[in-house]
Symmetry: C2
Subunit: 201 residues, 2 copies
DNA sequence: GTATGATTTCTGTCTTTACTGAAAAGTCTG
DNA sequence: CAGACTTTTCAGTAAAGACAGAAATCATAC
């Protein structure tokens, strides 16, 4: 009945570091990546130095094979990179340090995995609906609306992903000031003003 | 050994409609929602008329309880709404018809579920790191970078979510023209130009 | 109150995904 | 090419999530 808790290198880290790796790992599930992957990324990011698979496995107390697969996954997101270390045959990995660059890479893959297939599905449906009298006008319209939206977002992603990160940063920081500067003179809705914000749980 | 395929109302729909519901349901997993939820949303969206739980269950061939839970989930995303039908005691549901409104609602919930907790985690880590000499400067810096980024995105979401959808539509349609108009005069990278685009699978 | 119909909760089953440990494949060195 | 080291693949297990069907709760009408 005794709870066996595996002792890992993680336990000897500063509390803040350990906390980051652990909680970031858990948060991964919210983002759609599993714990191992998120933990490894957190470790490489916070560690800020090249590490090899064995070291990662030991540090986090997970299986070597799991690390191998997770590293592959992280590479597919292009947010970690292999860095050959002279005199060592093992593969070392480092995380992308620039958070904006990191976010852009993630966005690019997400677009590819989430938006592009949606577009194909919608186009296929619309094509099939074409000429089928059983499909009502309103249904056709809804499919078309959804496709138009998805297409717009698709193009928007493509364009934003090619904007240099410093420029993007400036623009994002401007927030809704952008809207005013562009002369989209509509008055902003003043809703949600009375809500007390940031009441952290 | 015979494959039993449940016959549902779905089978009597126009192929395009059926395809949409089925494929959209499958795509749900990519987006982090389960099949039932995605299918029900697709059905309500394409059906474009109020439906009650029983009807949904029959149409899609899934359990009544499953429908109940899925409807609750869709309501938490605020992309379907209950519409009382006079003379009928049952709850009828309709999907938000405006795709932009729908996208905004989803974005709002995603922000709340994905960004806000991240921000809390990072703040907590930084607080814990403060004064701990075992946490190196570079580690502190990385946590801070991540927090700053997350905070920036948090604010950006808040502001964008308050921009009226027609305005947002115009802005998104402009794409990277916005960057030029704002006078962020940096030359755009001309990469990725040679790639043949849209080679659909 | 009781009866009827609608909805939610609960429990167990099935499916999917994550993960481990071992075996296989690959890679560099001498 | 032998031998040591490294990484990947594979098969089985464990954990998590999705789902069905039954039971319980809730709401309305009478």
């Amino acid at each position: 009945m005794t709870e066996i808790t595996k002792i890992t290198v993680l336990d000897h880290m500063p509390p803040a570091t350990r906390r980051f790796i652990l909680q970031w790992g858990d948060m991964g599930s919210t983002w759609g990546v599993n714990r191992s992957v998120a933990q490894i990324h957190a470790l490489l990011y916070i560690g800020a130095r090249p590490m090899h698979a064995e070291e990662i496995a030991e540090t986090l107390g997970i299986a070597r094979s799991n690390v191998s697969n997770s590293l592959k996954e992280l590479q597919s997101w292009k947010i970690i990179a292999r860095t050959p270390l002279p005199g060592d045959r093992r593969d070392y990995f480092v995380a992308e340090a620039d958070v904006w660059e990191m976010a852009m890479r993630i966005a690019a893959v997400r677009k590819q995995r989430e938006i592009d297939p949606a577009l194909e599905t919608l186009s296929a449906c619309l094509e099939e609906a074409d000429g089928d009298k059983d499909v009502s006008d309103i249904q056709r319209q809804r499919l078309e609306d959804l496709r138009a939206f998805t297409l717009t977002m698709d193009r928007w992603y493509d364009q934003m992903l090619n904007v240099p990160t410093p420029v993007l940063l400036r623009m994002v920081k401007m927030g809704d000031k952008v809207v005013k500067l562009l002369g989209f003179g509509q008055k902003k809705k003043a809703k949600e003003k009375k809500k007390t914000k940031n009441q952290a749980a």
